[in-house]
């Protein structure tokens, strides 16, 4: 298939790549742009590991054609806290997942963190039911979800403290 020029706006930067019209957004991110934080777990949108934010909303990049999202703002896990080198410098959501055991093997983690990010943007104080509903498309085989739920609750707590001007360090 003939390659074409595709412009993607990823993590607040515009990136140009040459790819066939059937190039998936997941492939473009991972293989053309080297953003391997976005994972492929199932090939068919069953697992949510490939979740990215498209204009702030979670979307499964394994089902999306890169060429169709040239006008969108795309955020991947790499875009949450760029250039940081220590856990204590990361976004509170990322820290909370590490501190509360929301991460085991880590393969579902980028997708879960981005989905949570979008949830808390819209609903800063979700109920447990709202959290469970929002995360229900992101499969995790390690945790049984208990510590993921605790991570999200902890993130909310950290974010509240931060918005109140408190410095929170793990």
């Amino acid at each position: 298939m003939t390659k074409q020029k595709i412009l993607l706006h990823v993590n607040r930067a515009t990136q140009e790549l040459e790819a066939a019209p059937n190039r998936l957004l997941l492939e473009a991110l991972r293989e053309d742009l080297g953003l391997t934080g976005t994972k492929c777990g199932c090939d068919d949108s069953s697992c949510g590991a490939c979740t990215v934010l498209v204009n702030g909303r979670p979307a499964m990049s394994c089902l999306m054609l890169a060429a169709s999202y040239q006008d969108a703002e795309i955020t991947t896990i790499e875009g949450l806290a760029p250039g940081k080198t220590r856990l204590s410098e990361l976004a509170s959501l990322q820290r909370a997942f590490a501190e509360c055991g929301g991460v085991q093997c880590g393969f579902c983690t980028p997708g879960l963190i981005l989905t949570t990010c979008s949830l808390l943007e819209k609903t800063p104080h979700p109920t447990d039911a709202e959290i469970n509903e929002a995360l229900s498309g992101n499969l995790c085989r390690c945790t049984g979800y208990t510590q993921i739920l605790e991570s999200v609750r902890r993130a909310i707590e950290l974010m509240e403290k931060e918005s109140a001007g408190e410095v929170v360090r793990p």
Partner: protein
């Protein structure tokens, strides 16, 4: 010295995993994230037939396609392999026969996935279709067209053990009960699909990066099948996205990538699709368990006889080990004086089964714990009480030769009974609501290695530099369970330094010492003990050097918070970094090695099959499930699980709880919904949507309770935490369903259809 006596020790603290930064930022690299210049895409041609002879194979048109750099078929891969020395029955690519749908026929390496797929389509294979053996019980009676030569009746392996005298035990019993259980085949479904990158350098040395739990065994198998010296093969384990046993033996793509890379002269990466992962499988086999148990009126067990048949699929894999765990762990949670076991591992034309979390014990434990509740119901004894009446009295050796030192099972039973308010609820909840109890146990590492050898099971090298930083070199394989973190915590604890002063270099067969891998829940116990020994050796060297410096005996010195001082005189302290340099002289890096070998007393008996089952220590679990059953729809809802786990010592309570919760959750999946559905050798649900596991919406509350029995040989008292909890939850749910609606569920998974059928039968039988 107990962990608690060292101030600021990270041991016992809820410490984030040391690799969590790279996981929450996406910076961490898993195998499929790696790329080398010129990397080709590898793809495998799979058999469309369950059982067929390859009459002719013509791959010439594939090789002619532009962009194709290598095509390899079975003629070029003659060496047989398998994880067990007694089971070398696999080849990288089939030579004369395919034995399951999905069997590996040929491989290609090309510039792109599209070209590789086109090349596969150009390979012409002429098959002579053979009758396929798809049914477990029919396969073990088959006379002709057998799956492998030298395996009459398609029986891969059978074991017959008899300890004591079961007939005498049945005679002494007041009640003898027989039950049959049938457990569906389930699979790991780790979120990361298998992936391997292989590359040869100009000197012909091979480096493989792979999603493996067993880099050491992979290195050996690569060397054997590619007919290369082991020193020319290097295996590096990057981050692994979950294993649960599915990456604990060599998976065909790992060898295929290497053989294609050698032929192409360029690096080759193969990443399985999700469908290929399901066909690569190696999960828990369908298992039929028949139990006959004798019991006295007071609830004391007098004998148990178990007959277990497992559907192993087309290759040996870990099969004999699975069979033996099923027998060896059948009785060893309790004190049972007479035990008989007959186990049959049967070949069928389906993907091979293998090790899966709770390897070999899960289905037998489900059967036994449910059967025990049936017995208790028959005698009118409370289910928690009948378990109390059959406890072991450690230290002891079970009748089949398993040495038990620490035994937190009684405490686990008491703790869950108390937390769940058992005595107030059992038998007293309204119809449709129920509560059930069950127990389980598991090894903290196999006492005997897969390949018999006198070398230690784990070795850890430790390097301390002039800045007081400790670097752990370990072969142990972090797969998400937190094993790197545990080793770092132990070293930081022993050396009195902060956790962030400990670096870890792990699982690189060219750089790190030998560790046998992440299987049989061995890493905390074995690599943990090796790390502890290395840290103690480093500490000894440091304190000896400091003793000269202070001119006092080393025994009077304290190493704490990165400083060394004489007990009671903190003011005059020598920084650790300086002491390291003194101790290292004339070098600038202090090196210490620690290793772990299992004690001879823990290695089991002398009979055939005695080598599997023994472990230096066993974890224990007791769980209570609270369920509700909708009698109109048959839907079972698990409200809550109380899970007490005896992990010896929780080096990291955060990750121990994570392991317990994850095990319980995975067990619930097997209890209620997971099942590989086969039709004519084809998997009907080879996708994560079709092979359904619970989401955040239908996962119940799990309340972990950690019991610390302080094992005398565990590192700081620790034992396994990652597998043992899985087995108890299934019978706890089955027993709770009986309490709720009065039916015994003897087939897994416990689907709504099966509940309704059981309720109908009950109604027919009792009229109520």
């Amino acid at each position: 010295m107990s962990a608690g006596s060292i101030p600021n020790s990270p041991v016992g603290s809820r410490v984030p995993m040391v690799d969590s930064f790279e996981k929450v930022t996406g910076a961490g690299k898993y195998a499929d994230d790696l790329v080398l210049p010129g990397t080709l895409v590898g793809k495998i041609l799979h058999s469309p037939h369950a059982h067929a002879r390859i009459r002719r194979l013509d791959a010439s048109r594939a090789g002619q396609l532009p962009g194709v750099f290598a095509v390899v078929t079975g003629k070029e891969t003659p060496v047989k392999y398998g994880i067990l020395p007694i089971g070398h029955d696999e080849r990288i690519f089939a030579d004369d026969k395919v034995r399951y749908i999905g069997d590996n026929v040929a491989g290609v390496a090309a510039e792109s996935a599209e070209i590789a797929e086109e090349a596969l389509r150009r390979i012409r294979v002429e098959y002579e279709i053979l009758p396929a053996h798809l049914d477990l019980e029919k396969s073990m009676r088959a006379e002709s067209n057998l799956i492998h030569d030298g395996r009459p009746h398609n029986i891969e392996k059978e074991y017959h053990h008899h300890f004591g005298d079961v007939e005498a035990g049945f005679k002494a019993a007041d009640l003898v009960r027989f039950d049959r259980f049938d457990c569906a085949e389930v699979t790991h479904a780790a979120l990361e699909p298998h992936s391997t990158l292989a590359s040869f350098d100009d000197d012909g040395k091979l480096t493989v990066w792979s999603s493996t739990q067993v880099p050491y065994y992979l290195m050996k198998t690569l060397a054997a099948t590619l007919e290369m010296p082991e020193e020319n093969v290097r295996v590096i384990k990057p981050l692994v996205g979950g294993g649960f046993g599915g990456k604990s033996e060599v998976i065909p793509l790992e060898l295929a990538a290497a053989v294609l890379a050698r032929k192409a002269g360029r690096p080759v990466k193969i990443t399985y699709t999700r469908e290929e992962v399901f066909y690569a499988h190696r999960g828990r086999p369908r298992t039929i368990v028949e139990l006959k148990t004798g019991v006295r009126r007071d609830g004391r067990l007098t004998a148990v006889e178990g007959r277990v048949i497992q559907d192993g699929g087309a290759f040996c894999g870990y099969g004999p080990v699975t069979m033996l765990y099923s027998g060896q762990l059948l009785n060893a949670l309790y004190d049972i004086p007479n035990v008989k076991y007959d186990g049959y591992r049967v070949l069928t034309n389906k993907p091979a089964c293998g090790a899966m979390r709770g390897h070999g014990t899960v289905n037998v434990r489900y059967a036994f714990e449910t059967h025990l509740d049936m017995i208790a119901a028959g005698l009118g004894i409370d289910p928690a009480e009948i378990r109390r009446r059959n406890l072991l009295k450690p230290p002891c050796v079970t009748i089949n030769g398993l040495r038990i030192l620490s035994y937190g099972y009684p405490e686990c039973l008491e703790r869950v009974a108390e937390a769940s308010n058992w005595s107030e609820k059992r038998g007293k909840l309204p119809f449709g609501k129920g509560i059930g109890i069950a127990g389980s146990h598991y090894v903290s590492g196999a006492a005997n290695p897969i390949i018999r050898s006198d070398q230690p099971h784990s070795t850890v090298n430790l390097e301390l530099d002039g800045e007081g930083t400790a670097t752990i070199l370990t072969g142990a394989s972090e797969i998400g369970q937190g094993s790197d973190t545990v080793q770092a915590q132990i070293v930081a604890h022993e050396l009195g330094i902060a956790l962030d002063r400990v670096k870890i270099v792990a699982a690189d067969t060219a750089r790190t010492p030998i560790d046998l891998g992440s299987y049989s829940s061995r890493v905390t116990f074995m690599a943990g003990n090796a790390a502890l020994a290395a840290a103690r050796e480093a500490k000894r060297q440091i304190l000896n050097a400091a003793a000269t410096y202070f001119d006092v005996p080393a025994e009077r010195l304290v190493l704490e918070d990165g400083r060394i001082f004489e007990a009671g005189n903190r003011a005059k302290a020598l920084p650790l970094a300086q002491a390291v340099l003194l101790a290292a002289k004339p070098e600038t890096v202090l090196r210490a090695t620690g290793s772990y070998s299992t004690p001879a007393e823990a290695r089991g008996g002398k009979y055939k099959g005695a080598g599997v089952g023994p472990s230096p220590a066993y974890s224990y679990s007791a769980q209570v499930a609270e369920v509700s059953v909708d009698v109109e729809t048959g839907q079972v809802t698990v409200e809550r699980i109380y899970a007490a786990h005896d992990c010896g010592k929780a080096i990291n309570p955060l990750t121990v709880e994570g392991q317990v919760e994850g095990s319980v959750w995975m067990g619930l999946g097997q209890a209620l919904e997971e099942e590989m559905v086969w039709k004519n050798g084809r998997l009907m649900n080879a996708g994560l949507l079709e092979y359904r596991s619970a989401s955040t919406l239908d996962s119940p509350e799990i309340r972990p309770i950690l019991v610390e029995s302080a094992d005398p040989e565990g590192p700081l008292g620790a034992k396994e935490a990652g597998e043992g909890s899985l087995a108890a939850v299934i019978p706890a749910v089955a027993n709770a369903i009986y309490d709720a609606v009065g039916v015994w569920m003897t087939t897994l998974p416990i689907t709504p259809e099966r509940i309704l059928k059981a309720l109908e039968e009950k109604q027919r039988r009792t009229g109520s």
